[in-house]
Symmetry: C2
């Protein structure tokens, strides 16, 4: 059972949940209302998100509020870092090329 952020965000429903709870914590029931699946299915997604520490739980009576763990989201950003350097370099080169072309 692989369990990392990349596998977590592979599922579109999970990405939607992430976006949903990014701004404010929500209960499984409230989340499920936004989707065309059962509450249990959402619960399963939340378990996966919890297992890779992408969400935090905060119990309040019998309700559990799930919120997004931004620290973990940054890990995706960190992985992208290596490519960002490359695509910025290429952009720079294109810039220089265009500058050289204008000189002529």
């Amino acid at each position: 059972m692989r369990r990392d952020i990349f596998q977590a965000i592979a599922d579109p429903t999970r990405r939607a949940i992430i976006t949903l709870i990014a701004l404010q914590a929500m209960t499984p029931n409230a989340i499920a209302e936004h989707f065309d699946t059962t509450r249990q299915a959402v619960s399963k997604h939340l378990r996966i998100l919890t297992e890779c520490e992408l969400v935090n739980q905060q119990r309040q009576g019998r309700e559990i509020y799930y919120s997004l763990e931004m620290k973990k989201m940054k890990e995706i950003d960190k992985w992208l870092e290596q490519f960002r350097k490359i695509w910025e370099d290429r952009f720079d080169n294109l810039d220089k090329l265009l500058a050289r072309m204008q000189k002529k």
Copy 2:
């Protein structure tokens, strides 16, 4: 058959391939040498990466050079954008909070 960037980068081997060809184009055989799988398995990964337009092919005789399509990589970055705003905001708030605490 879902086929989008997020599903593409979910597999660790595929992420490794992406990193591998980010700097220079490579043939399937050359790529396969870096992994503990068959060339055919790598070929399958390349097909998936091709299907979601994450890689470009450039034929040269009987060899095919695969390179990374940075434009597509930026789509991940674009998705992260919404969260980046949030985590920067939170960081700002933390900053202000710390400043306020120091005043007292």
